[in-house]
Symmetry: C2
Subunit: 305 residues, 2 copies
């Protein structure tokens, strides 16, 4: 392949980069309105260990709220979180704990919630990497997103996390506007404030958790498109990868393998709400997905400077 | 106002055009990510009389299906439609009739449904205007959409009609991609065909009808944005117009008045699922919306040639 030296500079030369570039070239044959790429967020576009940024955000809000009102610590979900009692959190169930955290923002308008998310992501430091969460995005993925858009792809984020949390930062982090984010969506209520109609957050979900097969249904419901490229890292992404990569014509599933304990983390991607007995590598072998080794394939993981 | 002679050429000079241009100029002060405009579809972006294009599409599908299987005419909803019995349709309720029509496409994949919609809209002729439905879009609105995008606005279609019907044609007709369309959404089911995961349509809705206050909630759920410009024509749009136009800073609600029986139609815009006792003009007076007279303000209604 010639003339590709400037492309995807953080992707090391080798079979992984070659296959990505081959897909990009082949996608030129696909009608423009079918050039659609979907990316999982946590562990695919940015770091998810040792804690999801969204959970760190809610924990920060919980600590602030508990400082103002110590009675919050009486509630089992909040007590487990404030004590860092992972067993208690697991026993209560992540879904129940997440909804208890959502209650902290019930009655808040979406714009105010988004402002708080943005301030946290740009200001709060990742616990081990020592940079703001906004700097824990993966440089090779930023390059891939830019290259896809340069080739006429529409690029979307399809996350198991909260839709509104990711929407608050997706344009700044990834160049994806709010309407390009599909996730687990909180409910709203219409209210009047100062005589004006406003929406406020509730503490109930309006979609099921956006993991596994739900990702396929939500891609159609919220985007109305079928992807020919899907990128993920956990069992929650497999359904979406199979959906994208089983199309006739150029299509590709990409699985990020977290195998770089020195520069990032080493772990098998799991879905919080989606059980499986297979590993990602087994699924990739079965379906012909491209496995990206962070250690071997990425010359650089995080943005410079 | 100087230097605006090339802008919005199908809008006649006068106070309506002046106010639109003033809003456009003022919107330059709004941060780019808050330049958001939403448009109703039927009666706002294209003609909705004497029949919604979507209903004409479903009627066409029903007649084809009934020709293949005459027993379909035994079903009350289909019989009422095939007989053109408006009273019977009204007695059954438009919601029930619409769901019966949706059954005609249960089990169909979204891409095939979209193909059929596109073929109908570009091929079938409007019953009185004598051109394909695709040519019944309003030229002044195409110019407004283009001018908004030139000024950095994101433009969306927020329709009471079926999301997937409008998504099928929105890019061609309005330059709005599928993810920019919010409507009344059919449900899907995940299935396997030839071993591959596919989605197929069901005959049940997954959202409530996208009219009235539901438009506000769906704008947030599906787009994650708050509009500063909303354009509509019927009672089903008033909530969205108030939502957009009550923001501090530059914002505008626009109501299209169908007052041109010679070139289009003359009627008071109603919502199929949303009752009201006020007229659009009363609401516009109360909230300061801009009323667009098709007869007085539009030099040209449909695209040329």
């Amino acid at each position: 392949m010639s003339g590709d030296h400037g492309l995807l500079p953080s992707w090391r030369p080798g079979p992984t980069r070659e296959r990505l570039l081959s897909f990009l070239d082949a996608s030129g044959r696909v009608p423009a309105d079918q050039r659609v790429a979907v990316f999982d967020n946590d562990g695919t576009l940015w770091c998810e260990r040792p804690i999801y940024a969204q959970l760190a955000f809610f924990m920060d809000a919980l600590r602030s709220a508990a400082a103002d009102d110590p009675r919050l610590a009486d509630r089992p979900e909040y007590a487990a979180l404030l004590d860092g009692d992972h067993q208690a959190v697991a026993a209560l169930g992540l879904g129940r704990v997440a909804l208890a955290l959502a209650e902290l923002f019930a009655g808040v308008e979406p714009a105010e919630f988004a402002d708080r998310c943005r301030r946290f992501v740009s200001g709060a430091h990742h616990p081990t990497l020592g940079v703001p969460f906004a700097r824990t995005v993966y440089q090779p993925m930023l390059e891939l997103l830019a290259e896809l858009r340069a080739r006429g792809f529409a690029t979307f984020v399809v996350t198991g996390g909260g839709t509104e949390f990711v929407r608050a930062v997706s344009l700044d982090l990834y160049g994806v506007p709010p309407e390009g984010v599909v996730g687990t969506l909180i409910g709203y209520e219409l209210a009047r404030r100062d005589g004006r109609p406003v929406l406020v957050r509730t503490a109930e979900l309006q979609t099921e958790a956006n993991e596994g097969p739900a990702k396929i249904e939500h891609i159609q419901a919220f985007l109305g498109r079928r992807p020919i490229l899907a990128v993920g890292n956990s069992a929650g992404d497999w359904a979406m990868l199979e959906y994208a990569s089983s199309l006739p014509g150029p299509s590709l599933g990409v699985l990020v393998d977290h195998d770089d304990p020195d520069r990032e983390f080493a772990y098998e991607g799991a879905a919080s709400t989606f059980e499986t007995e297979r590993t990602g590598r087994e699924m990739a072998d079965r379906h012909g997905w491209l496995v990206v080794s962070m250690q071997r394939d990425w010359a650089q993981i995080f943005p410079s400077g």
